[in-house]
């Protein structure tokens, strides 16, 4: 892909060019994304911020290949996912993308270990083997002693740690998170982000986090501001260094 994007040699994890997403038709037509150009570097934790309805989650969905863009190019680790059919896209997500959701989306009837094992089961790993490996990942996020608990028996922070273990277990190269700390208290939220950085962020991997939560801004390597379906600016960790843009300040306030 042109414009300095290099996903094939490891500089960039993802590049989006001219991505537009329309919802509705005629008078109800809405530009959720409007000619978005956007790169995600490998080895970074990128925060996507902006007011509600600005298109953050839509952008995250397009980036993760769970929503088709109306137009534009979406390149993730050298694969033009906008050109894949649904079956290929499903396979691509299975092999490359990890998901962390605001509401955790842990299956309520499965134990923590079984929930973490799901991505491996999708890869057709044997159940016992998958659950055994899930226990090692739960240990990494400090949840080994809760491996056999049901989600309803865990606190919000504990559930999110289980969700992180689930997102990591297949060692995906791109992890997308939608408001991962929205349902957590401040301390737990910070702890979760620290865990992201310590366990999930390696040199060839990237994490993109959609958030409203200003308390976690210091944990991002870059912060991308969105407004009305466009990227306003992308700043290098400026909130942490005190050079926060006006837009970000507004969100923080």
């Amino acid at each position: 892909m042109a414009n300095g994007c290099d996903t094939e040699n490891g500089t960039h994890a993802a590049c989006l060019r001219g991505v537009t997403k329309l919802f509705g038709v005629g008078t109800t037509e809405v530009h959720a994304l409007n000619h978005v150009d956007f790169n995600v570097h490998t080895g970074e934790l990128l925060l996507l911020v902006g007011p509600s309805g600005c298109g953050k989650t839509t952008l995250l969905s397009v980036l993760a290949g769970i929503l088709d863009a109306t137009s534009g190019e979406v390149d993730v680790f050298g694969t033009r996912i906008d050109q894949l059919d649904q079956q290929e896209k499903t396979q691509f997500r299975r092999d490359n993308i990890g998901f962390i959701f605001q509401q955790y989306n842990l299956l309520p009837t499965l134990t923590a270990a079984e929930n973490v094992a799901i991505p491996l089961l999708i890869h057709r790993v044997e159940f016992e083997e998958a659950v055994a490996k899930a226990r090692t990942y739960l240990e990494k996020v400090g949840m080994a002693d809760r491996a056999d608990f049901l989600p309803s028996q865990l606190s919000g922070g504990q559930q999110q740690r289980v969700a992180i273990a689930r997102a990591l277990i297949t060692e995906p190269r791109l992890i997308v998170c939608d408001e991962p700390t929205a349902a957590l208290d401040g301390e737990t939220g910070k702890m979760i982000l620290e865990m992201f950085r310590s366990t999930a962020l390696t040199g060839d991997r990237a994490i993109v986090v959609v958030t409203h939560d200003s308390r976690i801004f210091p944990y991002g390597d870059r912060i991308a501001e969105m407004l009305d379906g466009r990227i306003l600016s992308i700043h290098e960790n400026e909130f942490a260094s005190g050079h926060t843009s006006d837009g970000v300040k507004e969100i923080v306030q």
């Binding site: 997500r93 299956l107 999708i122």
Partner: protein, 374 residues
């Protein structure tokens, strides 16, 4: 993913219980209604069964054992003369009115058996069947004997102004019309039955050793011009008559259709609720890379599982009902041929699969992006 599918299903205990209990009821009602249908229809052939004759010869126009189209007395000799017929005996079978000692009247099914052999007399429970040789002697069937005031050997009643004296009770199950069965010698039965120009109803026969039954019936038909059936054929002829000429199939059929539709609506709605409640989890599974085909298989597995459990439990319940309420002596006609169990199982599985289609459609059309919606 199969274990995940099973845990998703069984973990939601209230939904699982609703699904299984609905299917238990559907399966039970299917079996119960179907078994009553089979029981009723099988009872129409009971007058044939209790005789136990290998071959029945009748008027060609006869449509069931309950019709009376008399033969010529000479027809008995004509059947006996057909090559391959080992023996042939007469049978008078008519409905006659019995006048009881308390003044009441009761229609009974009168069998006039061959004077020498009494072929067709069921196994005796009490009394002595050989006493049929005596004047005025009759044997009565156990089932419905209460309609004759439970007569004991030695007691009397009248038929066609002729006295009948009970000499024994025979083991006879209930028939479709619930008439008491009364057995007499052929000659005596002629006196009990209203006088007609021709009295003989049937000729009972058996094939000679080594001659196929079908060949013998073919020869009888060709030689005498009469109808000849194996016992099985004659039972089906009678059952077919009642299937075609009564409202039993349509009545029970409507009941079964209602059971199917009600079961379908309950199970379908529960499955749909299940899919709705699990929408975001299905979305998460899709987002994480589960294909629609795999999700479809998971839902089908869930449907088959509840179908198997529901139909199994329902069949068990139906069996218990049959043991308690059914039986040959019961007033409730209840018979469960294996085909009925298969039909009930297929109906329950069909309900599950059709209901699962609603969920499958929902899940297949589900966009994985739904997981990012609050």
């Amino acid at each position: 993913m199969w274990r995940i599918a099973i845990k998703m299903l069984m973990g939601d205990r209230s939904k699982y219980f609703t699904l299984v209990s609905s299917l238990v009821v559907v399966s039970f009602l299917f079996l119960q209604q179907g078994s009553i249908f089979c029981g009723l229809i099988l009872r129409t052939a009971r007058p044939v069964e209790v005789v136990g004759a290998p071959i029945w010869v009748s008027d060609p126009q006869l449509r069931s054992v309950d019709e009376s189209k008399p033969l010529l007395d000479t027809d008995l000799q004509r059947v006996r003369s057909v090559p391959g017929v080992k023996w042939a005996v007469p049978l008078l079978l008519q409905l006659v009115s019995a006048h009881l000692p308390d003044g009441n009247f009761q229609t009974v099914r009168l069998y006039g058996l061959d004077n020498d052999t009494f072929f067709g007399r069921p196994k005796m429970i009490s009394g002595n069947g050989q006493l049929l040789v005596q004047d005025q002697a009759v044997v009565i069937g156990r089932a419905e004997s209460e309609k004759l005031n439970n007569p004991k050997p030695g007691q009397v009643f009248e038929m066609n102004d002729n006295q009948a004296r009970v000499v024994g009770i025979a083991d006879v199950p209930r028939d479709f019309f619930s008439y008491p069965f009364v057995y007499a010698s052929y000659d005596r039965a002629l006196q009990y039955a209203p006088q007609q120009r021709k009295q003989l109803n049937f000729v009972l026969a058996a094939p000679a050793d080594g001659v196929p039954m079908s060949e013998v019936t073919r020869r009888i038909r060709a030689t005498t011009g009469l109808a000849a059936y194996t016992e099985q054929e004659f039972r089906w002829l009678t059952m077919g008559y009642y299937l075609k000429n009564t409202g039993i199939p349509i009545s029970i059929g409507i009941s079964l259709l209602m059971v199917f539709l009600v079961g379908m609506s309950i199970v379908g709605q529960t499955f749909y609720q299940f899919a709705l409640q699990n929408e975001r989890y299905f979305g998460a599974l899709k987002a994480m890379g589960t294909s629609s085909a795999t999700l479809t298989k998971m839902i089908l597995l869930q449907a088959l599982l509840v179908g198997l459990v529901g139909s199994g439990a329902g069949a068990g319940l139906g069996g218990i009902f049959g043991l308690i309420a059914g039986g040959q002596d019961s007033k409730i006609a209840f018979a469960t041929p294996w085909l009925m169990v298969v039909v009930s199982f297929v109906a329950v599985i069909a309900i599950c699969l059709l209901s699962a289609l609603i969920s499958i459609r929902k899940v297949v059309k589900l966009e994985p992006a739904v997981v990012f919606r609050g």
